[in-house]
Symmetry: none
Subunit: 399 residues, 2 copies
C-alpha cells in the first residue's frame, strides 16, 4: 500500500512555506518517496515582520506568541488546501500532513536560572492545521529529541540516511546553506554509524565578500561567474586555512558568529587591496577546501570509505564551487541532489513527511549520533480532529 | 479489555498537580471509570512564582515560556513516575497518560491586530512527559476546540454528563477552582442539551485578597474562617457586581487575565481601607452571587428546571461559600461531589484521562454546545517516544 502525505517546512530565514505532496512506500530501511506536486508560499511582509518580532526576545510577548501559534496553524492548513486544489487530490486522498512548524526560540543548553531547561519552541498549532484540512497532522518534532538530552538538531541527518543510504556506496550528503553541514552515510550503514557535523562556512563568506565588492548591489556570486574570472591568491588562502574551526574535531557546529561579517572584516583588513574577482575566487575555493578537507581529515584518514558526494542547498547552484570540490576530491564522484531525483529545494519539506511517516508507524526517526541525545526517540506529536482523519491515519500503521 | 491510564491536572490556581491512576472500561455512552490510586504534588514556591510570572503579560518572556514548557513536561513526568512507585504499578502496565498542561494564556476571542486569532497556550511539553515516563501521552486538548471556533472551555462538560445525568433530576455541576464553571444537565438529557460556561471567578479573587491582607502568609481562606468574621460591604459589592463579565451571555469563558491580580489591584485601589475580614467576606459572598446569578439569569429565567447543585473544586471545601450559594438559591438542593460518591479533588484529573481515552479511540470528546465551537472535534495531541509506548497505546484503540 502506498501512502500520500504532505510535508510542510517553514525555514528560519522566514521567507515562506514549502509544501510538498509525496507518495511514500516501504519502511525504514527500504523507504521510497516520490514527489507528486509542490507549492511555495511566500510570507507576506506583515507576516514576516510579525514572525521576526515574535522570535526576538526583546520584542516578543505572551499574547503574540499564543496568537501566532494559531494564525500559523490556520495558514499552514490553507497552504495544504491550496496544494490539494493545485494537485487535483482531495483531503480524502491524504493520509497525513507533517509540519515542521516555525521555530521562534531554540536554546540547546540549560540557562542560568534554577528552573531552566534546554528548550525549543515551534509554533503553528497542529490541531489548527488538522481542523483546517480535515487531515491528521504530525508535527513539533524537535521537543522529543531535546527532552532526551539532544540539541533538537540537526534532524536532516536522519532524512539523509533514509534517502541516500545504499548497500554498496558510501556517501556524504553535503548541505551548503549559509553554513556547510555534512552527513556521512557509509555503505550498508546502520543508524548508529551516521556521522554529522558542520564543515565550516557554506555560502556565508562568499556572499558577504560579493556583497561588499559590489557595493551592496549583489548578494551572491550567480553561477560562480566572478570566481571564475578571478584567480586564487595563495597568501589569502594560507590565511584562511589557518582558521581554528577547521582543526576542531567533530561533533561540531558553527554559525554566523564565527564566519559572519566579523570574519570578513578580517579578510578585508588584510587583503582588501586584492582584485575583487581574485578575492571571490579565493574564498570560493577555500570554501570548497573546508568541505573536502573535512572529509579527508575526519572521515577518510580514519579509514572511512567515500565514494560519492551529494551536494544540496543554495551552494549546489554554484558550478564553480562544485568544480572546486570535485577538483579537491579526484577519486570521488561529486553530484547534486537533483542527480538522484531529489529536489534540493524541497528536501526539507519532503524530509518532514518522512519523519511524520516514521512517527505514525511507531518507529525511531532521530539519530542520537547526530543530535547528541542520550537515547533514540520517536519524535513528533499527532493531532486529528475528525474520526475520518483518524481512520486514514491508521492506514499508515497497517502498511 | 480494561485500560489503565493516568490523568494529570494543573489548575489555574497554580497550587500543584493532581495525578490519578484509573481503570477505564467501555466506550462513550457506557463508560466506566474506577480510581486505583492518586497523588497530589504541590508546586514549590519557586515554581509557583515562575509560573505566575510566565503567565503574566508584563513579566513573561520568550525564553522563559519555552524553558518552562520543558521544565513542566519533565516535572509532570516525574509526578507520573512517583504515582507509579506509590501504586505498585510500573510504566509497562499503563496504556497512556493524559495531561491538561498548565494554561499560561487564554484569549477566546480575536484581538485587534490584523493577524490576531483567538488562542490559548498550555505548557508542559507532552513529548517531555513521554520521554520521562516511557508512556504515550495525550495532552494540549484546548487548541482543537478553539481552532474549530470554540472557547477552548469548558472541557469537563461531557464528563459531568457521564457522571451526573439523571432521568428525573435536573442538575448543575458547579466547579469552583481558580475560575467558576457550570455544566447544566437537564433531566433525561441528550448530549446536545448540555450547557456549560464559566460563571466568573472561583477562588481566584478570594485567594488573592487573602494573600495580600495576610502579607503573603496565607494563600486561601481556610474553612471560610475570615469571611465568617467579616461582613459584606455594600459599596464593594456594588462595585464588584458591575463587572462586565457577569452580563456576557453564555457560552463564555474567562481566566486570570480578567479576574487575576490586575482586578484585585482595582479592588484594593478603591476599597483597600476596608477591614480585612470584611474584604474577604464581600469577595466571598460576591463569588457566590456570580454563581447563583448565572443560574438565575441564564438558565432558570429561560425556563430551565433546576433541582440540584453539585459543587466541586477547592471551593467545595469553603463552607462559607457553600452557605452563601445555598442562601441565594433557597429552592434548590445544594451538595458537593462527595455526596454523590465522587472525589471532587480528583475529578478533573480523572476527566482528562477520559478525554485522552476518547482521543486515542478517535471519538469526539468535546461538546460544541458547551464550548461554542462550530462543529464537533476530537481534542488532544499525542506523543510517544518509544516503540513499546506506542504498542501499549495501540491497545486502547483495539478495545
Amino acid at each position: 500500500m502506498s501512502i500520500l502525505a504532505i510535508g510542510l517546512m517553514s525555514g528560519t530565514s522566514v521567507d515562506g512555506i514549502d509544501a510538498v505532496l509525496v507518495e511514500i512506500k516501504g519502511s525504514q530501511e527500504n523507504i521510497e518517496v516520490e514527489i507528486k506536486d509542490s507549492i511555495e508560499t511566500k510570507y507576506t511582509l506583515e507576516e514576516r515582520k510579525e514572525l521576526l518580532r515574535v522570535s526576538t526576545e526583546e520584542t516578543s510577548d505572551l499574547q503574540s506568541i499564543s496568537s501566532m501559534n494559531f494564525y500559523l496553524g490556520k495558514k499552514y492548513g490553507e497552504v495544504v488546501n491550496n496544494l490539494l486544489k493545485k494537485s487535483g487530490y482531495t483531503f480524502l486522498d491524504i493520509h497525513f500532513v507533517s509540519s515542521h512548524g516555525h521555530t521562534i526560540f531554540h536554546q540547546p543548553y540549560k540557562g542560568s536560572k534554577t528552573l531552566d531547561k534546554a528548550n525549543t519552541l515551534q509554533i503553528g498549532d497542529i490541531s489548527a492545521i488538522a481542523d483546517t484540512t480535515n487531515i491528521a497532522v504530525v508535527g513539533d518534532f524537535r521537543t522529543a529529541d531535546m527532552a532526551a538530552g539532544g540539541h533538537g538538531a540537526p534532524l536532516t541527518s536522519y532524512i539523509d540516511y533514509l534517502l541516500f543510504s545504499n548497500r554498496d556506496t558510501s556517501r556524504v550528503i553535503q548541505n551548503i546553506g549559509g553554513i556547510g553541514n555534512v552527513t556521512y552515510i557509509p555503505k550498508n550503514a546502520k543508524r548508529e554509524q551516521i556521522v554529522s557535523f558542520d564543515t565550516g562556512p557554506g555560502n556565508m563568506v562568499i556572499d558577504e565578500v560579493v556583497f561588499r565588492v559590489s557595493d551592496q548591489k549583489e548578494t551572491y556570486d550567480k553561477d560562480g561567474q566572478y570566481a571564475r574570472k578571478g584567480k586564487v591568491n595563495e597568501d589569502l588562502m594560507l590565511f584562511l586555512n589557518g582558521h581554528e574551526y577547521l582543526q576542531v574535531k567533530p561533533p561540531k557546529t558553527t554559525g554566523r558568529e564565527v564566519f559572519g561579517s566579523h570574519f570578513v572584516d578580517q579578510i578585508f583588513g588584510k587583503f582588501g587591496h586584492l582584485d575583487a574577482n581574485d578575492l571571490i575566487a579565493t574564498v570560493s575555493d577555500w570554501t570548497a577546501v573546508t568541505i573536502t578537507d573535512s572529509y579527508k581529515k575526519f572521515l577518510i584518514s580514519k579509514g572511512n570509505e567515500l565514494d560519492e558526494v551529494v551536494i544540496g542547498g543554495g551552494g549546489s547552484y554554484n558550478p564553480y564551487l562544485l568544480e572546486r570540490i570535485a577538483y579537491h576530491l579526484p577519486d570521488v564522484k561529486v553530484g547534486i541532489h537533483e542527480d538522484y531525483g531529489i529536489s534540493s529545494d524541497l528536501k526539507e519539506a519532503m524530509g518532514f513527511a518522512l519523519l511524520g511517516y516514521q512517527c505514525l508507524k511507531g518507529e525511531y526517526n532521530q539519530l542520537p549520533s547526530a543530535t547528541g541525545a542520550e537515547h533514540s526517540v520517536i519524535m513528533g506529536k499527532i493531532s486529528y480532529t475528525q474520526p475520518e482523519a483518524f481512520d486514514r491515519m491508521i492506514a499508515v500503521r497497517r502498511d
